[in-house]
Symmetry: C2
Subunit: 429 residues, 2 copies
């Protein structure tokens, strides 16, 4: 039996839908029994000449002083930051992140030991390799984060299929089922659930959430459906009407044809953008055969593309996860963004609705504005740069995104004022 | 004219061979004009609401104290370590690495501003995306680092084509031309030049180097040939007979059909394994149109797979590059490995040649041993683990690799002794 056959059985047995949804590449990858595999077997040997990393011969790095001195860490943590991480990530970091993910989650809900990725995007790219591929439908409400196009479409040949995230200025919880309506029954599909959303800055209310879940479950009747929960903005929710909990937990075990996958990380939630620590989590118990088989596949892809994830940043994130006041540290950032959110919402109320209207937002890092017809978002962006010393993101066909996460609360009213001025000038011509 | 057409012309004009060698994916990627592009345009604006990273609104991170306190860096460097890196890498790091690469190199030889990758493997994966693809011949002397198979073959569908790196226990500088002999003329091919080598630990002598260069230039007569210089072990050379300089510099501008690409990084050369900082460098001037077009393609792939490279590790590597005694710090590690090399070479001289013979080695992190016929390397590895508390890497069909970079000099004679004992026991059965 080949290594690939060994991986097929545990996956196809435990979740035929997941096996059906794997791409050709996803089917053929398996962690090879070469150097990291053999090095893992040799761990703890008195004489260990397996691994090509430079050490003192007793497991400690021969770091350059200039590098080691830049880390204010205890010896053991510093050593770990400078040596290779295991391909799946450092065990303690994975375990600590799993505890963080599962705060308040029912113990009965299964979830794997998270696999460490190079930032959240890398988790998406791994999911794209596993579940994308030529012609596969990737459904996502529009407007969406443009990089999905590169990660899924350009690289793997998958098709992005969309439906409107908003109708008449209101959030549309059925965008994914609507996008799937034109896809043939039986054909596996992938849905991206990015909540809180980018560029929308929106988290569904309790009733919208319920409609969304019902819609996804109905679609799973018609086809194997992999739901990628892109939890980039996890926790950043500013209104009590919207539960902050990840949709991932609500989707586990709800339908045999629906496989949720959680993609999250320290980037936004721990405000650690430069570190590139993300995680990929499957809805299966860590010790289960299917979790182990999927881990082998992901490890093959991680090794093939980046060798191993960043040890340095994992150790830094671990410092935060182990801080006794970690929840307060994370909450302090959320509160600060929450204040900006309130100021921005207030400032947007004064904007002439003949120029643009803010779409509902209550979460994340962004507010999305829909321009009145006749106003081109790219022309507006260029005008704001050229004449108003102001930068925003334009999204075709009719949107402008404001990242309030990187603007002072006191600056937001003036930013909105300049935006409106730029739009008025565009209207005049 | 589309963005893709804009990129075709500068590449096909300056190097028709490079354009011919691009994979279908390599041809279709171009850095999209979305968020990072628009954010770059907005840099310096008084009001900048473009980018989804959490800051104080004046460009500084809202880092968690637990993360920021783990870095012993000045304020500005610490801030930079915690925020997103540009997709192409931090400018000062790229410039400093370029100066490091070009020590002693003729000013007339062109080389691009290095693009930052997530460790050296990511540089290889980017080259695989650009130049691999279904059926493309990737030629490499055997035995080779097994991960090339995943990076080029499993992921992109390229074919690994090999020829023996050693003949009768001697280094074979013509392995790549020999491997190419069976490939049709005119069909573009990729060659991997991994010197100092893994698993061989070998750097060619002056005369072997000259034969190797002549052989590559002759092959470029027959086809577009991309030569990937995998300089993972750059600088780690222990014998004066072997020039340490990268082959990349010797290949630039030598033949219009030969395109060398340099892939290197801080991993081994700066003993910074956990940091994952690699670089990808093309043989063209930074300001040239072809360098800019290739940069756009690489940035698209970096953004699609990891978002952006690791800022934290770039800042740490930059600390080392800026240290006044950086050359001595790097040299101290090389000298320490050089002592182990001498001890290991000496210890291997006593091994019964009826059991195994060391292949020539003079560089890098490894020694490679060829087992006598009848001895299976995997069985030997298992026996060493089970009975001799010793770990080595087995490579089919007949090799064992010792990583002396992670073993104390004093331990090496005993490691060799146990290896020989294990082999004798295997022979007896």
């Amino acid at each position: 039996m080949t290594e690939l056959d060994r991986l097929r059985e545990p996956i196809a047995d435990a979740s035929p839908a997941l096996w059906a949804a794997l791409s050709p590449l996803g089917r053929r990858v398996a962690f090879p029994p070469d150097i990291p595999f053999q090095a893992a077997e040799a761990r703890g040997m008195r004489y260990n000449g397996t691994i090509g990393q430079i050490t003192d011969g007793a497991g400690r790095p021969l770091a350059l002083p200039a590098v080691a001195e830049a880390l204010a860490l205890e010896q053991a943590a510093s050593d770990r930051a400078l040596l290779y991480s295991p391909v799946q990530g450092i065990l303690e970091v994975r375990a600590a992140w799993r505890r963080w993910q599962r705060r308040g989650v029912d113990r009965a809900l299964p979830s794997s030991q998270p696999l460490v990725t190079v930032g959240l995007t890398h988790g998406l790219a791994l999911a794209a390799d596993l579940f994308g591929g030529e012609g596969r439908a990737i459904v996502v409400p529009a407007p969406f984060w443009g990089n999905y196009r590169q990660t899924f479409g350009v690289r793997t040949g998958a098709r992005i299929v969309t439906a409107p995230a908003y109708r008449d200025g209101t959030y549309n919880p059925l965008a994914i089922p609507e996008a799937l309506a034109g896809e043939p029954a039986g054909a596996p599909a992938v849905a991206i659930l990015n909540l809180p959303s980018n560029p929308g800055g929106y988290m569904p209310t309790t009733s919208e959430r319920s409609a969304l879940l019902t819609g996804l479950l109905a679609e799973a009747e018609r086809r194997p459906l992999v739901v990628l929960c892109d939890d980039a903005y996890a926790g950043l929710v500013y209104e009590a009407e919207a539960p902050a909990r990840s949709l991932f937990w609500d989707l586990i075990g709800r339908h045999p044809q629906l496989v949720p996958v959680k993609i999250d990380g320290g980037t936004k939630e721990f405000s650690f953008f430069g570190g590139r620590v993300g995680f990929l989590t499957f809805p299966f118990e860590p010790a289960s055969k299917i979790a182990q088989a999927l881990e082998s596949k992901v490890k093959c892809l991680v090794r093939a593309v980046v060798g191993s994830p960043v040890a340095t940043s994992q150790v830094l994130l671990h410092q935060a996860l182990m801080a006794p006041d970690v929840e307060e540290q994370v909450e302090a950032v959320r509160r600060r963004l929450g204040r900006r959110y309130l100021v921005l919402r207030e400032a947007l109320q004064s904007v002439d609705s003949g120029l643009m209207r803010p779409l509902p937002f209550n979460a994340g890092c962004f507010a999305l504005l829909e321009l009145a017809s006749g106003l081109d978002p790219e022309a507006l962006r260029q005008r704001l740069l050229a004449r108003h010393d102001t930068g925003v993101i334009s999204i075709q066909p009719s949107y402008v995104r404001i990242a309030f996460c990187s603007v002072k609360a006191d600056d937001l009213p003036e930013l909105v004022e300049r935006l409106a001025r730029g739009a008025r000038e565009g209207r005049v011509r």
